[in-house]
Symmetry: D2
Subunit: 341 residues, 4 copies
Amino acid sequence: MSKGTVVLAYSGGLDTSCILVWLKEQGYDVITYLANIGQDEDFEAARKKAESLGAKKIFIEDLRKEFVEDFIWPSVQANADFCAPPSFFSIYCQIQKFGIPVPVTPKAPWSMDANLMHISYESGILENPKSQAPPDLYLMTKNPADSPNDPDVLEIEFRNGVPVKVTNETNGTSKNAPLEIFSYLNEIGGKHGVGRIDIVENRFIGMKWFFVSFNYLTLYLLKTFFFLTSRPVFEIKYSFHIKILFFMCVAGFWYSPECDFVRHCIAKSQENVEGKVQLSVFKGQVYILGRESPKSLYNEELVSMDVQGDYDPCDASGFIRINAVRLREHHRLQGFSGKKQ
Amino acid sequence: MSKGTVVLAYSGGLDTSCILVWLKEQGYDVITYLANIGQDEDFEAARKKAESLGAKKIFIEDLRKEFVEDFIWPSVQANADFCAPPSFFSIYCQIQKFGIPVPVTPKAPWSMDANLMHISYESGILENPKSQAPPDLYLMTKNPADSPNDPDVLEIEFRNGVPVKVTNETNGTSKNAPLEIFSYLNEIGGKHGVGRIDIVENRFIGMKWFFVSFNYLTLYLLKTFFFLTSRPVFEIKYSFHIKILFFMCVAGFWYSPECDFVRHCIAKSQENVEGKVQLSVFKGQVYILGRESPKSLYNEELVSMDVQGDYDPCDASGFIRINAVRLREHHRLQGFSGKKQ
Amino acid sequence: MSKGTVVLAYSGGLDTSCILVWLKEQGYDVITYLANIGQDEDFEAARKKAESLGAKKIFIEDLRKEFVEDFIWPSVQANADFCAPPSFFSIYCQIQKFGIPVPVTPKAPWSMDANLMHISYESGILENPKSQAPPDLYLMTKNPADSPNDPDVLEIEFRNGVPVKVTNETNGTSKNAPLEIFSYLNEIGGKHGVGRIDIVENRFIGMKWFFVSFNYLTLYLLKTFFFLTSRPVFEIKYSFHIKILFFMCVAGFWYSPECDFVRHCIAKSQENVEGKVQLSVFKGQVYILGRESPKSLYNEELVSMDVQGDYDPCDASGFIRINAVRLREHHRLQGFSGKKQ
Amino acid sequence: MSKGTVVLAYSGGLDTSCILVWLKEQGYDVITYLANIGQDEDFEAARKKAESLGAKKIFIEDLRKEFVEDFIWPSVQANADFCAPPSFFSIYCQIQKFGIPVPVTPKAPWSMDANLMHISYESGILENPKSQAPPDLYLMTKNPADSPNDPDVLEIEFRNGVPVKVTNETNGTSKNAPLEIFSYLNEIGGKHGVGRIDIVENRFIGMKWFFVSFNYLTLYLLKTFFFLTSRPVFEIKYSFHIKILFFMCVAGFWYSPECDFVRHCIAKSQENVEGKVQLSVFKGQVYILGRESPKSLYNEELVSMDVQGDYDPCDASGFIRINAVRLREHHRLQGFSGKKQ
């Protein structure tokens, strides 16, 4: 007689297959659940494997659309990878916790996690941070050295801080549903070798692991260059980036009161982030060509050096003098207290 | 008879030449002061021009070494451009206030500012954010499309968070004085087309100007990938980045009590940032190959998946369960209050 | 013939009366506007004065209700004076910019500003920060030494982080409209001498003025003790307090995009701040007696030391050991690098 | 034969006495260690109890001086309780982890922890947040209703942000060593009923416990009113308060890299916090009477309304107009986009 039914998050890999068998041996019925979030997986093979191991019922669900809309888009609004390439951590490692482990094979002496956004690797020869990642590690990005000699030129349209349309100006291809937009950006990014990074993750418990990760996402995050409606609002929002990035994605507090709160605030800040950016994708890089927005505070007439703006040049003198009052007093006092800093 | 003596910050350009003449007409003696901070300037021609316009005394001083040590290095410690390429603002625009204006010529219908770190452009045809920067605008960087097909591989050694030595592993070239290190990184970056960015600056008064800027600096900022000694320290330091970047560099409060304070704190945080990074520079990108540090919290044995670390796997269950207590209560309460966020 | 019509923000005092006359002399028609935001003013006298000085039209508007709802309540949600008594600045000085100047009379050798929330004083003998404020300065608060020997016990009910009802448990008095609640709290606070503070303001331009101020507001801000729904949410909200307090109230950026944004975020954080607090008001102090909320994360059973909570004591060991991994590594490394911090 | 020697942190109470006996039964030699950090304890009795239970060696060490200098003073510099009375958490609960548990006796149906700074209580009848704390709970503070009808007037002198001398101006008593200063402030605070607070702690794991605590510390924290040297430095330091308070004191990360870092930064910010404050202590409150500092940015001449400061009133117009440029553009755009926020 069964001790009861257990739902097992099943990947088709070694670990969860063992667990399935062990649970049955302990006397439980097992329902397996496998979500498709873009990992490179033979789902049919996984189904058969679960069947052959005696799963009572097998669920395989395609959650790629939900993954883009509920996780990737909010992260984009949060610029949660805005500093990905030059930063020591990135969203890709965070997404990793949604990743499906692929077993370490004799051919690939490292562990690999993949989903719609990325593949990351760790362990094996990668544990020495001094060692260079071998070229055959990369599955989603072309080597920039071998990538096309002609760029793809894309136009991405944003509303509320997320892409709503992408058009390839080179060949007219156009996408406007979240999963299709994201997948197309991945395709173009991969073709041109965008997103190869090599980082050492700084994990919650404070230790560092060696880590190699690839992303395509830089592609459309350049939006911030222009559409931002107000500098002081950005400065406040800036303090949220690291919270979303590290505490909520990496450290696993996505479904927490503070993440609900921060996501709400960020979405508010993105209400006016609307317009179009033209990009050139080439040899591992993304270059902005131009941008336009109906809601930007940028005002060509206002900022022109050629025409008179809406303030008098003399105002600037007053502005500077008032700002300097405390600086002058500070320096006077430093003299008084005989200190040089 | 003279009304007195005025010291004029003189660039050799149109504006300050006019001011020189005007001050003399008003009855003042004028001493001109021209600092070399790396701008592309014919200093001898500037000296002759000042002489011919009647300057009483002419100072030309080479401050490039001080510029690197007192301004660029502290900014590097502050990661003040750590988000330069994907960010909407950059240190380059900030440095601009040290820049020397070069007059708008018939051939170049825009205004240009240059120094050791960058050239930036504005006005003229650049005022429309939708228009693409013309190729002949770029003076310091090779077009990535025309850059070498073979990378340069560099090793940069850091101490206290700033580079103390750079070695080109391809040809053995090595530099170890601040100005020489910085200039060499500029040279290699320029050769491979690193640092072309196209941003709209978000200025203090809140308006945006169109702005094109080139930097070489990303080159050695990748250091943060590895040497960081502690995640929580970084998180605190992170809040300083935007302050150093915007308020102190851009908004002109470099010589203020708060900048003294922040620089002191940042320098403290960089005490353990020590080690070496190997980089590959290629087609407008910089790729990390490896890194090592005697002071990192990274510990290969500790993090290995192959050997037993210094905590029991069961500890992780307790860690997760305790962290989850408030989340469970939060979700229980959300049910209670009938709210969905 | 008139040069046009000017609207003059008119206080009835010396300065604006002079301006009224001067504007007329310059050939303008003048409409005076005087808002009642709770200052101690003879509005009828002000009307007559404006009439006698030739104002074309005179508006006097009672904005006390709007003042409480649109300014004070959002500040309460923001805890914008949560640190008022022990802090070096307070909302009272900020509110000052809505204040109506009362001329310095021979009897009162200082300048005074008043509104519904406070009276503040400056200049004259108050400019020396070492000098004690004279007892006859205080108009809104009883001297605590002379205040009643029996407390008033109040119950304040909150919804969305603002008071919606106050009941005096001593005599049954009850108020439930914003202006009435606020005025009653002022009355009880004044009766018991709550809110006398003596601070040196740290103004925008960096200088300090001597400043004496009285507030009643601490009265209901004690709400935060209990109703807060989540610690991490509070920590994020905490960073807003100083922004609302200083940049938006004091520095005058209340009607800015960043204030709109911060107010929106704060209001969101207050959605669950609901419940009742019992307070005792006595001799210049406010003491919390008890509190209750239907939405608090506090759960008597869960936290009890007497019954088993919903986690195993052994979990705590794992929690502590995992948190300590990086600390042990840090101390190991400090030994290694031979440094003592 | 002994299995080895164990050092036991021994309080003399029930729990650790049981552990002592149990350890011996398991075959270990036990050395007991008991630190005096100001708890109300009969140390001689504890020594005898340890002896009688078979401790091999007994250490009792007076760490009160170190406790003040290494823990309390840095917390004072950090304003770690600057918001104690109106805040939902306080340093007192944090200090609790240094506290020595006193067993729940039949007479006192709650748990009590005490040290030099405070006594806190929890559990038993206190677990219901609605219930009022019984009067006989309080051991260190006089009931304000029964406290003297005449104030004590103190002058506290600060250097580097910590008290270096306290003088009672009423009777000439003076103290200038850390432990003596702190103990005297405790004595005067207790005499006048300063520091009774009733809070619900918001603990690390997210739940709340009912909590009653008494402090004397507000007494000298009022220093911040005046000595602060620069507003922007304070704003940066402000972000440290909650970190020191919650993460490092409460959550137990005092000996961590981030706490080392934050303490270093805070100490730097306090270098100019120097001068004297006069206080009146009366009926549960502390009132500032006056203050003076040789290093303040306050400059009576500069701020006077009576004499011309060092900037032209016209400068203010420019200052305001430049600051308003972006606000005007924001409101223009809000009209354009048809939105009301």
